[in-house]
Amino acid sequence: MPMLDIKNLTLEIDTPMGWVSALDKVSLSIDTSEIRALVGESGSGKSLIVKSIVGAIPERWRVTADRMNWKGNDLLGMSGNQRRAITRNEISVILQNASAALDPSATLREQIEESIPSYRLTKGWFWQRRQQRLDIAIQELHRVGIRDHNLCLSSYAHQLPEDICQKFSIAMALVSKPKLLIADNPTVGMETTTKVQILKLLTKLNKTQGLSVLFVSHDLLAIAAMANTMTVLYCGQTVESGSIEQVKRRPLHPYTKALLDSAPSFRRDLPPKSPLSCLDGTIPTLQHLPIGCRLGPRCPRAQRECVKMPATRHIHGHSYACHFPLHRDKP
């Protein structure tokens, strides 16, 4: 049974133009010790999925789902306390904008110590606990590659460069020894070496401690290097999902293919300075979503049927939603 199981999650938000479904029947599941990548263009709703899993969305917005289970328990039906208990002990989240997600008025030390769960504290007296908390924090910082822990811990978020904040957020998320780590673009803007270091850390935790990761990113290279499975999102709709090899080798959805093609590193055969393939246009804004398959207007294979939402089909754990998939004859 998957650890996190989401089926047909729909999220409606109110904009000045009325209610818009920013997420439209998204399905996503994460197994124990699985690294799942969530890809999609900017504005496709990746962060919204993350936020709805942890319940960090405004109460006004409407969330509905056929299923949204954590280890078999329905997250949406839970009381706030139960849900918080889960996010406190079992799920950790790194929000997208690392420095903005840190409290500007508290030192980083206060913040990371706040995240340390009580079961990690073994000592009895409060001064011992205090020291132990600090030790844990330092240890965690070293793990993500922050050397100057004293300076870092005594600083405020705005005093540090962005990449340190990112690393710190990762450390803070890992400090509670979660079962599932949800990381929203944790490596954006990092230089390659640092990025690789973080990726290695996550992979190691995955291997040794069975940590599951939901890895949200634009960086196909990083995803390919680390993730086991991937889900592709376009405009709040799940387009395709499956194991990384399958998707990479035989993308079924035109959008997935375009996405993969756009990364030059995937294509050794590509001569330098040759045009990269891409889809025309940009992702539509929330107020101007096309009906049916939302890729419609940009899709090279679009036909009239595309104004209807295609049903999701499954083949060998590889699912897609397209009327006219690639590599497949018409059903």
Binding site: A56, I86, L102, S105, E114, I146, H158
Partner: protein
Amino acid sequence: MLIAIARRLNLLIITLFILCLASYVLAFLFPGDALTNLSGIPALSADQSHQLQLMYALNEGWFSGFWTYLKLTLNGDWGVSLNSQTPIFEDILKLLPASLELSLYAMVISLVVGLPLGVLAGLKHRSYTDMSILSVSLTGFSFPVFWLSLLLILIFSLQLGYLPMSGRISLLFDIPHSTGFILVDILRSEMPVKDAALFDALRHLVLPTLSLSIVTTALVIRLIRRSVVTVYASDFIKAAYTKGLSHSQVFWRHGMKNALLPIMPQLAMQFTVLLTNAMIVEVIFSWPGIGEWLIQAIYQRDFPAIRGGMLAVSAVVVTFTISVELLVRILYPLNKRQFYAQT
């Protein structure tokens, strides 16, 4: 940190210096004889005038004149009032506590009422609660203070007869002046009917404080509401929730701190508004404070008193605002720090 403190202190000193300079220059700007405006003694004889000139070093160039003035000012020799011929500095020392007391209580009320309401409105952003609190506060700070005071007097004193309408305490009580804060003075005095006096003083406080605090409460509500809304919309609050903190934990550990700290200086600025409005309220309620005194001084063209009052009030305001700002800086350092840790 030290630098921040030093900077504020520097600012404070420079500001006070500028204020002194302004008050010195005012003596020459005001109509009439500068010497009279400085000392408050209408120069009678040539001899007396000569003596005053020496005292204020007026014939030794403006710089040493100002220097002498500064020394005199620091020594508490602010001249005498043209009108009553009493030393201004002593008058101010006596009157300032009354104004401060009034403003302080009004500030406390504004905070006690405005804080929860503002936070409530901020948390329930865009709900009906929010709307109603917001409308009430908008109405509140559109009131001309003088009109509001008059309305309050009309209703509570004259129609209903619940509350007295002038002074700090019934004149029947003869409270010895020690600190100038009447409640403190009553408690410190050894009079036999302390309770009655305290009760009477409190009754006298109600209306002026109320009319002062309505406007500031409205402002405080709006300030806090806006700040709470911004803070609650920000990422780090979401992040705090995702850490599994409960509503109250988030509220107390992250929400309040971040909502209140940045607006502390602005809240402190409300004290300025209060002191200004207090001048009007004092006139209406015959509150023997510095504002009423200052306005009487203007009516009577008592220039030394005007200068002194201005210097005192603005010095109090400046000191207050700068210290609050300093406090905030200490709690919430904003200066950049260089980070050398490299991977």
